[in-house]
């Protein structure tokens, strides 16, 4: 995991076949990165469904959310439609796991992302991180707490 207080590495990845996202797109806003092992697996589903219900709460803290896994953009598209997700899922697909590796959130043995969270502020600086065991849904209390701290300092 990358150190708090350091600049977040840049990325440009597809979410769906027609849409790309970069770190710069979120300048001036807080950004939550939620790395997770795979679309469709039960714990991830719960975690992403939970965050999906919280988008308004995140918005109140001037924050956007991106999920990241090694699944392809087509897989993400199907998964998002099936779960009614209203935030982008990045396809860290080619070269596989490149973004996750940069963020120290790649599990080489399983060939998938760790279950890792980052909160990045509007200037691109990492302000909070958390690594969860793969089978444990970390919830969102840590994210909210980190966002509130950033917003309070303004």
């Amino acid at each position: 995991m990358l150190t708090i207080g350091t600049p977040a590495p840049d990325f440009t990845l597809y979410s769906t076949p027609g849409q790309q996202h970069s770190l710069q797109d979120f300048q001036g806003r807080n950004l939550i990165l939620a790395f997770y092992p795979a679309d469709w697996s039960p714990v991830c589903g719960d975690q992403m469904s939970l965050y999906n219900e919280m988008l308004q709460l995140f918005r109140k803290q001037n924050a956007a959310l991106l999920g990241v896994s090694v699944d392809s953009k087509w897989c993400h598209q199907a998964y998002m439609q099936s779960r009614n997700l209203h935030f982008p899922l990045l396809a860290d697909f080619e070269p596989k796991g490149a973004m996750a590796k940069q963020y120290g959130a790649y599990d080489d043995k399983e060939g998938q992302c760790e279950r890792a969270l980052y909160v990045i502020d509007g200037s691109g600086i990492i302000r909070w991180n958390f690594l969860s065991p793969p089978a444990v849904n970390p919830g969102a209390d840590g994210i909210l707490h980190a966002l509130e701290k950033i917003q309070a300092k303004k």
Binding site: E53, L57, R83, N84, D141
Partner: protein, 171 residues
């Protein structure tokens, strides 16, 4: 970490006395099948523990996954205004396969609620706000899915079957 915030208070729907030795708080979603399975387990525990237990239900509707979840929560709050929160809570969980706006009115009728008042109350934004407040309190308390239980303010991470829950309550 994962401590219940805020602690139980007058805003909560509670069964059992305030001084009970154990307080069990559930964050639940009326349309969640897991919560539906936990319902009989919790009811059986309430019966067995009697006055030793206080049980509180807070709303945690996952609206995108369960389109009727929030309406059910609001219906329960509307029933609460007529003193029938728990009756509505039971009616919903006992008929979880049949949930629809019409079904909620049918439950209200069966429970003998004043239907005109019920119709007015479910449109009162204050009830939706109360449900949202429960949701936010859940997130801040570390709820990561439903049902989530707190025993005397601490998150319970075990399974929600009767035996496991009971063992943790009677420690």
């Amino acid at each position: 970490m994962a401590k219940l915030t805020p602690p139980p208070g007058p805003q909560d729907h509670a069964r059992g006395k305030e001084g009970a030795s154990v307080t069990l708080v559930e964050y639940g979603d009326f349309q969640c099948p897991h919560c539906g399975r936990a319902f009989p387990a919790v009811e059986s525990i309430i019966e067995q523990m009697g006055p030793a237990l206080r049980f509180i239900f807070r709303h945690f509707p996952l609206s995108e996954a369960h389109p009727m979840a929030k309406s059910c929560a609001i219906a329960a709050e509307a029933a609460a205004r007529q003193g029938k929160f728990w009756e509505m809570h039971h009616a919903i969980f006992q008929n979880q396969d049949l949930l629809s706006p019409e079904a909620l009115f049918a439950f209200a009728k069966q429970l003998g609620l004043d239907l005109e008042q019920f119709r007015k109350d479910i449109q009162d934004p204050a009830l939706e706000e109360k449900v949202d407040e429960d949701f936010v309190s859940g997130v801040k308390s570390g709820v990561n899915g439903t049902p989530s239980f707190f025993i005397n303010g601490h998150k319970y991470n075990g399974s929600y079957d009767e035996e496991s829950l009971m063992a943790s309550l009677t420690f």
